[in-house]
Amino acid sequence: MSAVNWFKYAAPQTFYVLAGRWIPWLYAVAILLAITGVYIGFAMAPTDFQQGEAYRIIFVHVPAAWMSMVIYLAMAFWAAAGLVFNTRLSSMMAQALAPTGALFTVLALVTGSLWGKPTWGAWWVWDARLTSELILLFLYIGFIALRASIDNPLRADRAAAVLAIVGAVNVPIIYFSVRWWNTLHQGASINMSSAPKMATTMLAGMLVMALAGWIYSIAVALVRVRCIILERERHAMWVRQLEEVQP
């Protein structure tokens, strides 16, 4: 067996067709996983001693928070790959991930606030987790705003990549500093439950939901990357010959 030529898939033309084939499957898997996760979260996971049923918000809050971080790192990775190897597709991938990451960050903030109201009695608490999410949202906004300020897409790719790399180096420091600043915070999300150890079903529900979020993000990023390819390469002959473009 000869080595797979990975750079073949780095060509937007090959990737466009391949991604188009994956998207329906990814959507289907994401929906199935989300349904399973919701079932575990609502039907199997026991009621929390202290927080009652309000704790069930973690089944959407924690996966959203995880996704917001994972997507930032993935975005920085693809941006860096685009900068180093000069592959257009990597930069497009970074561009495609940013809005989804920002959306998950907003969802983590909103659901965190909805969770905070019954738990802490306030819509917003300056706890370490919410504050870090807020700063992460600022980083996403910076990435998107910088891209939007540069007209030439290739220049925008490279400038945004530098920002994403600097941001990714900064993310752990920001997390550490915010934790340092807030010594009164609730503890890492996994140990959030007041019970001595979190019920296995709770953890399972969160993991399944996180997996659903993961697959959903990949699907949506692929859809968006296909849009970006169509927008950026509309003068290329292969784009004009695509089946869906024929009148």
Binding site: L146, I150, R158, A159, V162
Partner: protein, 222 residues
């Protein structure tokens, strides 16, 4: 190597002296912003002493931010930046010189002025010293990180608001450790850890920022 660094710093200092009004404006901005908070709230000495670390640090942060576009804007406009990019010396070294000059011109005066504002806020003795020392160790990091943002926004059409949006989130660790040191010293606690962390931030940004700024400048000059 060292000669070119000194030459760049000397040149930028000379340019700054010729346009000393710009330097003064940043200082005045710092004083005005810091003076607004007692007027907006309660001038009670106890309240002010609690506000002091945060207000003085945020004011210094904003003043530093205001001066950032000047690091490269002039050289970009008159083409000397392109000369630097094709110079035989590594661009990151030249950038480091420019950042150092920016710190000398825009940030060091803030540090020297800070004790005066600290007194206005009722800081005395050790907390005042800690404030100055923390600013002295923290502001170089602000200049280094800010240079990346200044280079990235060069030639774009983001307007004045883009640079703060890019740079301020990256300033947060320095703000937390810097203001935290003053708060800790007010409470009579040990401040060594804060200074170690500020020092670590400085060293890390010293490694990353000149490189990232040089890459960003080359992108802007394409």
């Amino acid at each position: 190597m060292a000669a070119i660094l000194i030459e760049i710093v000397r040149r930028d200092l000379l340019l700054a002296v010729r346009r000393s009004a710009d330097v003064a404006t940043v200082l005045i901005f710092f004083v005005v912003v810091a003076s607004l908070f007692p007027l907006a709230g309660n001038p009670d000495p106890v309240v002010l002493r609690n506000l002091a670390p945060g207000v003085l640090w945020v004011s210094a942060l904003l003043a530093c931010l205001l001066s950032l576009p000047r690091i490269f804007a002039g050289d970009y406009a008159d083409g000397s930046l392109e000369q630097m990019a094709i110079a035989p010396q590594p661009l990151s070294l030249l950038v480091l010189g420019k950042i150092f000059a920016h710190w000398l011109v825009s940030a060091l005066p803030l540090v020297l002025l800070a004790p005066l504002l600290g007194l206005q806020y009722g800081l005395q003795g050790e907390p005042l010293l800690v404030l100055v020392a923390a600013l002295l160790l923290g502001t170089p990091t602000l200049s280094l990180i800010g240079a990346i943002g200044a280079a990235l926004t060069l030639g774009g059409r983001g307007g004045g608001a883009l640079l703060p949006v890019l740079v301020l989130p990256l300033y947060i660790p320095v703000l937390i450790f810097g203001a935290g040191a003053v708060v800790a010293s007010q409470a009579g606690l040990e401040v060594r850890a804060y200074f170690l962390l500020l020092g670590a931030c400085f060293l890390l940004s010293l490694v990353v920022a000149p490189w990232a700024t040089a890459v960003a400048l080359r992108i802007a000059l394409e």
